[in-house]
Symmetry: C2
Subunit: 399 residues, 2 copies
C-alpha cells in the first residue's frame, strides 16, 4: 500500500479522494500496489467519510515517513510554498494543481525536488485534465517550439460564448456563469486574465526553457469586450476569444493574455462554453491542439492522480527550465493584425493605418489593420486622436 | 555522440534525418549529447547526402555495438518484424511508425524489449505527430477509459471534406487527393478503412489492456458513401466522418471502423481536410480531444525522434497490454443510432423501426433510428425487405 496525503480539501482535493477510490482497480493494476490517502491537511475540520484522516497540523504529514506523495491543492503562494518546500525536503514527492505557485516558484521547487531525488509535478496546473505539459515537454521534445496559444480560462470562455450565441452582455453572462457555479463570487482572476496569465507563464517556461515571470506578462481580460465588437467580429467571419499566447521571437520570446479576433475556421474559434484548448506549434510537427474541460473537480483530480502515479514509476525529476528570465521581450514588439472600432470614417482609418480590412462602417468604423507591432498600432492610433477621432475599442487579431 | 540507425528511407525515414539535423541544438540540450544517424538500411542505394551511411545489409546495423537506437520506417510486417526482433535481441532500442507491425506484433515486441532491458516505442504509429499514445497511457492513467474514437485517416477525411464542401463525388475527390499527393496510387488501405483499423486496434490495446487483433476488427471504408447521403446528413445538422471506435462494453470491449453521422456541433465534426482528431473519454477526465496532422514527413518524424529521446532518458520498458485477446466482442452488439436511406415511405420506416427522426422524405426516405445494436438494426432492416422496401444506404450515427 502506497501512502499519500492531500493538502487542502476543496474541489480538487475532494476529487483526488474520489478518483483514488473510484478507480482503485485501474490504479492498483498499473502501480502493482494500492494507493491510500492517509492524511488530509485542512484548516477547519468537517464531517465526511475522511474525517478521521484530517489534520490541521502540517507536521503530521511532514514527519510521517510512510507518506511518499503529497498532493497540494491549497492554491496560492502562502502557505502552499512553505509546505511544498518542506514536503520535498522531507523526501516526499509533491504533485499540484496550483498554477500560481508553479508560475512563481516552480523552477526553485523542481530544483529542490531534484536535489532530494523526488518529483515536483504539475500537469493539472494548466488545462485541468487535458494532458498538455507532458506532451509538450516529452512527445514534442524533438521540436523547436515556435508558439503556444490557447483558451486557458473556462469561465471567461463561457461568458464570451454566451455573448456570441445569446447576445448577452458581459454583465448578464457573468451573472449566468456565477449562477451555474462556473464563476466565483469574485471573478477577478478569471475575467481579468490573471488565471490565464499564470498558465501561459508555465507554458512559456516549458516551451522556451527560461523562467517567464508572471509580473512581466501583461494580462488583459474580457471586461472591456462589448456585444457590439463581438457582433461585428462575427459578421466579418471572426470570433472573439481570450487567448494566452507565448511566442518565440527572432531574438527571445514573449507572452501575454488578451482578447483576440480569430478566423471562424480555426479550430480554437469553435471551442465553446467552459472548454479549454491549447495549440502548440512546433517546427516539425506543425500545429497540434489539445481540447477538453480545463477545470472541474474530476478532470483536474484525474491529472493530479496520474502525476502521483508518475512520481512512483518514473525516473529522476528533471528541472525543465532555467531560473534565468533572459530573453523575455515586451509583447508590444510582437506583430499581429489589430482590430479597431473608431468614431471616425474609413478614410480616417486609412489615413492613420494605411491599408485596412473594413468590417463595418456606419456612424462608427470597425476595421482590421495589416500586421504591425502593438507599439506601432498604438503610435498610429495616436494619429487618429490627433485628427479628433477616438478609439472606442481595440483588440489584437490573428489570421 | 549517440549513434542511431534508420531502417527504410522513404518519407518518414527521410523526415527523421531532417528532424535530427534541423533540431540538433534542441535535441542536444535535452539529451546532453548529440544524436547521429550512423547507418541507413535501404533496398536500393541512391544519391543523397546520406549515401555514405547507406547499407543494404541489416547485419551492419545489428552487429554495430555503437548503434543504440534503431528507427524502423520500413512499414508492413515482413521484413520489419524480423529486423525489429533482431535489433531488440541485439540490445538496441527500436522506435517505429509502423502501425501494421504494432497492431499485429506489438505485444510480443514489447515483451522482447522488456527482457533485453530496452524500449520498443511507437507514438508515431497513431496520429502521426499528434501526441496520443503517451497521453492516453500516462497522463490519463488514473482513469478508466470508456471509449476512444476518432478520425484516424487523413486521406479519407480529405475526400469526405471535398464531398461535403465542394459537392465532389467520391471518385472525383479521390482523384484530387491523388493529384495532391494525399492518396497513394492504390488507395485501398486508406479508403477501405484498413489503415484506420490498425490504428484503432493499437488504441484499443492501450485503452483496455488486452490485445485486439486486427483480423477481429471489422473495417468499413468510405467507398459506399454517396454525395446524396452526405448532403442529407448536412441538412439535418450532421457531418459524415470515417471513425475508428474502441468502446468499453458492460462486459468486455469492442472496436471497429465505419462511416458515422456526427452532430455538427461536436468538435470532431469540424475536423477537416487531412487533419486527424482522437477523442478519449475517461471516467474522471471526461472527453479530451487531440488534433493535428495525422501523417506527413515532418510530423511523423518528430514523433519518432521524440521516442528516440525517450528511449535514452526513461526507465525500463513497460509491456502495456496483455497478449490475451479476451473480452473482445463483436461490434454488432454495440448500441448506437443508425442512419438509413430507403426507397420506401416514412410509414414504412416507422413500421420497421418504431420511432425515427426523419431527415428527408421524397421518393426516398432518410431517417435516424433510436439507439439499438447493429444486429437489431439489421434484423429490422430485414423487415423492410419483407414489405418490398430496399435499403439504399446505411450508417451508424452518434448523438
Amino acid at each position: 500500500m502506497i501512502q499519500t496525503a492531500i493538502m487542502g480539501y476543496g474541489t480538487v482535493g475532494g476529487g483526488v479522494t474520489k478518483v483514488i477510490e473510484n478507480n482503485a482497480g485501474e490504479i492498483r493494476k498499473k502501480l502493482g500496489e494500492a494507493l491510500n490517502v492517509k492524511k488530509i491537511l485542512v484548516r477547519r475540520f468537517r464531517d465526511c467519510p475522511y474525517r478521521a484522516r484530517m489534520t490541521d497540523d502540517f507536521r503530521d504529514i511532514e514527519q510521517d515517513p510512510e507518506i511518499r506523495v503529497v498532493v497540494e491543492t491549497i492554491g496560492g503562494v502562502a502557505p502552499a510554498y512553505e509546505y511544498t518546500k518542506r514536503a520535498l525536503l522531507a523526501g516526499k514527492h509533491v504533485v499540484t494543481a496550483n498554477k500560481q505557485l508553479v508560475a512563481e516558484k516552480g523552477c526553485e521547487l523542481m530544483e529542490t525536488a531534484r536535489e532530494k531525488n523526488v518529483h515536483y509535478l504539475f500537469e493539472a496546473s494548466v488545462g485541468g485534465g487535458i494532458p498538455i505539459l507532458h506532451p509538450l515537454t516529452e512527445c514534442m521534445s524533438a521540436n523547436r517550439i515556435q508558439e503556444v496559444y490557447g483558451i486557458l480560462n473556462g469561465t471567461s470562455n463561457y461568458i464570451l460564448t454566451r455573448m456570441v450565441r445569446n447576445g448577452a452582455t458581459f454583465e448578464g453572462a457573468l451573472s449566468e456563469a456565477q449562477a451555474r457555479g462556473y464563476a466565483e463570487a469574485d471573478p477577478t482572476a478569471d475575467v481579468d486574465g490573471l488565471d490565464a496569465g499564470r498558465k501561459i507563464c508555465i507554458l512559456a517556461d516549458l516551451a522556451f526553457g527560461h523562467q517567464v515571470n508572471p509580473s512581466d506578462v501583461p494580462a488583459e481580460g474580457i471586461r472591456g469586450i462589448t456585444l457590439r465588437d463581438v457582433r461585428i467580429a462575427r459578421r466579418g467571419g471572426y470570433r472573439v476569444k481570450l487567448l494566452g499566447r507565448a511566442v518565440r521571437l527572432p531574438k527571445g520570446h514573449t507572452a501575454y493574455v488578451a482578447p483576440h479576433l480569430i478566423p471562424e475556421t480555426w479550430p480554437v474559434a469553435n471551442v465553446e462554453d467552459v472548454f479549454n484548448a491549447i495549440v502548440v506549434r512546433g517546427n516539425a510537427v506543425g500545429e497540434v491542439m489539445f481540447y477538453g474541460r480545463g477545470a472541474g473537480e474530476m478532470p483536474t483530480a484525474s491529472a493530479c492522480v496520474a502525476d502521483v502515479m508518475e512520481c512512483l514509476t518514473s525516473q529522476q525529476q528533471k528541472v525543465i527550465w532555467s531560473p534565468d528570465p533572459a530573453g523575455f521581450r515586451n509583447p508590444a514588439e510582437l506583430e499581429t493584425r489589430h482590430y479597431f472600432r473608431i468614431d471616425g470614417s474609413l478614410t480616417d482609418a486609412v489615413r492613420a493605418f494605411g491599408e485596412v480590412e473594413a468590417l463595418r462602417e456606419d456612424d462608427e468604423t470597425s476595421f482590421l489593420t495589416e500586421r504591425m507591432s502593438g507599439a506601432e498600432a498604438s503610435e498610429r492610433a495616436g494619429r487618429l486622436r490627433g485628427i479628433g477621432v477616438n478609439v472606442l475599442s481595440r483588440m489584437r487579431a490573428l489570421s
